[in-house]
Amino acid sequence: MLGFNSIQAHIFYLAQEATAATDATGGADFYTFANQLLNGVGIVGVLLLTGLGLAITFGVMRIINLAHGEFIMLGAYVTFLMQSLFQMDLLLTIPFAFLGTALIGALTELTVIRRLYGRPLETLLATWGLSIVIQGVVKLIFSAQLKYVKSPPYISGNLSVITGQDGTPLVSISYYRMFIIAVALLMLGITLYLLYQTPLGRQVRAVAQNREMAKCLGVNTSLIDLLTFAYGCGLAGIAGAVISSLKSVSPPMGQDYLVDAWMVVVTGGVDKLIGVLAGSFLIGEANAAIAFMLNDPVARVIVLAAVIVLIRYRPEGLFTVQKRA
């Protein structure tokens, strides 16, 4: 009880500190809050993009992939490499980031994951080890220094949604954030199409639902596993490429996204891809709103705690159809 009280007191203290700061600024008005909610959409874009790959590897394949963050990092490094070798535009590097990380993902599937199907604990350990290996290798090749990725110059500036009387933008969002959201939604759309409208997607779903039966019906399950995992990793690579120019590129960067991606996938539920969209929207906006009222570190604590409570009462996530046992 004592411990709980002291945590509560600590949160209260942090909240006090934050309110004092907001008071000094003259209080929050409507436009700033609207701006913050719109900015939250910017966070949603990043979350959706980073969570999508995990929704494939965990949601469809049930592989607990703790190296997901490192595949995002690899995507960012492919972009960096393409830019420094060939002075390529960021948009042009996206396919390379996809192919590069998908290739490494395929190698991982062949050498590690394949041998551990159906053993979640070992997979967890192996992918965790893998994440450290990838970080170490990248550090050896590229050194620990932060890397510079050039953003596309034609996607800059802000879109004003509401403009004040004197022409100053009151509620605005940057074009690059919108670009991230667009890419995320596009990738979600492509994934949905592949999964539900193509013969390949039908096979993927069949393997996910009943591997033995699918095998009996002549599906090459090991090939499907390979392709699905590589595709999930490729999506992570695209995320890395796109966010690299807005954030920092360094070997440990993936760790930051891993936790967020997991929160998104777990909250949204793993059975329906659309759950990722819902999960990232909920977490992104909750984060933005709480961070605005209190501050960033507190918002993270509250959102994480909320996700833990959610998992306790709805372990299958918010958007899962009730299944018969």
């Binding site: 600024t25 170490g136 932060l146 954030r177 639902q209 960067m253 960033d296 046992a325």
Partner: protein
């Protein structure tokens, strides 16, 4: 049917032998990776440069910087600068021209990697002192790591050379501080902001001891000037999402932002600041931890027009600096830049070598007591200009400079003191008149002195 999905069935089919085989593979992967990461066990001992150090005759020096983990980005470059200095001392090049080694002895480095983990700094410093029996240690970057090793150095009475600007309010008989004290960085930059940008400041920082203390001192300084802090926000170490903080900055409409963000948060913040449509003309950023290195990583176009306050910039115009930049690039590559913390890591190695030389030439043994007395008052023509260890408080006389970032990623120096400023470890805005004077010879008694008066600004005579 449902059973065929259960992992247990597959598990059962894999024989015991296979289970052991694959299980050990997984564990092996984990162990292998833990080693790659540094995990506390990567101690490499190496004599650099000529490598001809005859083992019995070499002077052992500990070098403790993280080359893995979140802080590695910065600490690796400090380690590089230290390696360069020790190579020059052992080979007799650079500032050590005409000599070879320290009074004929080579310096042997014992390099440890604490993996950006504060507890490991503590353990590794114990190990350096007890097992490797080094004469002194060069190392640490964050205040958290310094606070973690301080009790070790004090208890075992060993010496640490610490090369980083820090929040002050500390004065140990076992640490030589060669980075800026608050009065060499904050005390000049806050009045500069007040006069050139305006009275309203928005303070941000990473969420740990240095940014919070540093911002507390800066707040006191700004309020002394008649200014006001209109916002105070912290982000967890390693955060790269700044959309909320930037929105709060927009709302508060400050005249300037004071940034004490560190590490990989820096490029992310500057990029998103510009991406949100705020120009340096509207709200300039004054920063302490933002150096040439981070500017290079974010791309100079994002920093152009913003400011940093530091003792050293790569553009400082001295012959020593020209040589330093040239030698550094020759050793580590043409695309590398030098910055203030690296310069401090470089110059403190020479302070150490000069002190050791003095001890040996006087025919004495290098012990903590002799090294400490010899280091007090050492002078060195560093890249930033002539600097000196203050014999009273073990901090360093350093230049105070403010640079405005240019399109090429280098700083135009817009403010500089005429010569090195005497360090005052205690922030005078918070602790008026508090001084630190170690007795000579140092008996490790409490060095704090309360004068209650305003302390005059003193400069090093050049």
């Amino acid at each position: 049917m449902a059973d065929s999905r259960s992992p247990l069935v597959r598990f059962g089919r894999i024989g015991r032998r296979k289970f052991i085989k694959y299980g050990s593979l997984a564990v092996g992967a984990g162990v292998l990776s833990a080693c790659t990461r540094g995990g506390g066990e990567t101690t490499t001992s190496s004599a650099t440069g000529t490598g001809s150090a005859s083992s019995g005759d070499a002077i052992k020096v500990g070098v403790m910087y993280s080359t893995t983990g979140t802080i590695a980005i910065v600490e690796k470059s400090l380690q590089d600068a230290t390696f360069l200095a020790i190579e020059q001392i052992n080979q007799g090049t650079g500032p050590w021209q005409g000599k070879q080694g320290v009074a004929g002895k080579q310096i042997e480095m014992v390099v440890v990697n604490p993996d950006s983990n504060w507890d490991l700094y503590n353990q590794m410093s114990k190990r350096l002192i007890d097992e490797d029996q080094v004469s002194c240690v060069l190392g640490c970057y964050t205040s958290a790591s310094r606070k973690s090793v301080l009790p070790v150095f004090e208890e075992k009475d060993a010496i640490l050379y610490y090369p980083v600007y820090y929040e002050g309010n500390e004065c140990s008989s076992n640490v030589f501080y060669t980075g800026a004290a608050p009065n060499q960085q904050i005390t000049d930059s806050i009045p500069y902001c007040y006069e050139n940008f305006g009275p309203k400041g928005f303070f941000i920082g990473s969420d740990y001891i240095y940014p919070k203390e540093s911002n507390r001192i800066a707040k006191a300084e700004l309020e002394n000037q008649g200014g006001q802090v209109v916002g105070d926000e912290y982000a967890a170490l390693g955060t790269t999402e700044f959309i909320t903080i930037i929105n709060k900055i927009k709302q508060a409409k400050p005249d300037f932002v004071l940034s004490n963000l560190v590490g990989d948060s820096i490029p992310a913040f500057y990029r998103q600041f510009k991406d949100a449509g705020i120009t340096p003309d509207q709200i300039p950023i004054m920063a302490y931890p933002t150096t040439e290195e981070e500017i290079q990583a974010m791309g100079p176009e994002y920093a152009e027009g913003h400011y940093s306050s530091f003792n050293y910039f790569q553009t400082v115009d001295t012959p020593e600096n020209k040589a330093f930049v040239e030698q550094f690039k020759a050793k580590f590559g043409d695309n590398r830049v030098t910055n203030g913390v690296m310069e401090a890591a470089y110059l403190q190695t020479f302070f150490m070598a000069q002190a050791m030389e003095q001890v040996l030439e006087a025919g004495e043994e290098i012990t903590t007591a002799t090294l400490r007395e010899a280091t007090r008052g050492q002078e060195f023509n560093a890249p930033q200009g002539k600097v000196k260890i203050d014999p009273d408080n073990y901090h360093t006389y350093l230049y105070s400079r403010i640079g405005r970032w240019q399109a090429d990623g280098q700083a135009e120096i817009v403010f500089a003191t005429p010569s090195a400023v005497k360090p005052i470890p205690w922030s005078q805005a918070l602790y008026k008149g508090r001084l630190c004077v170690h007795p000579a010879p140092d008996d490790r008694s409490d060095p704090t002195e309360e004068t209650g008066n305003d302390l005059p600004v003193e400069y090093l005579e050049s």
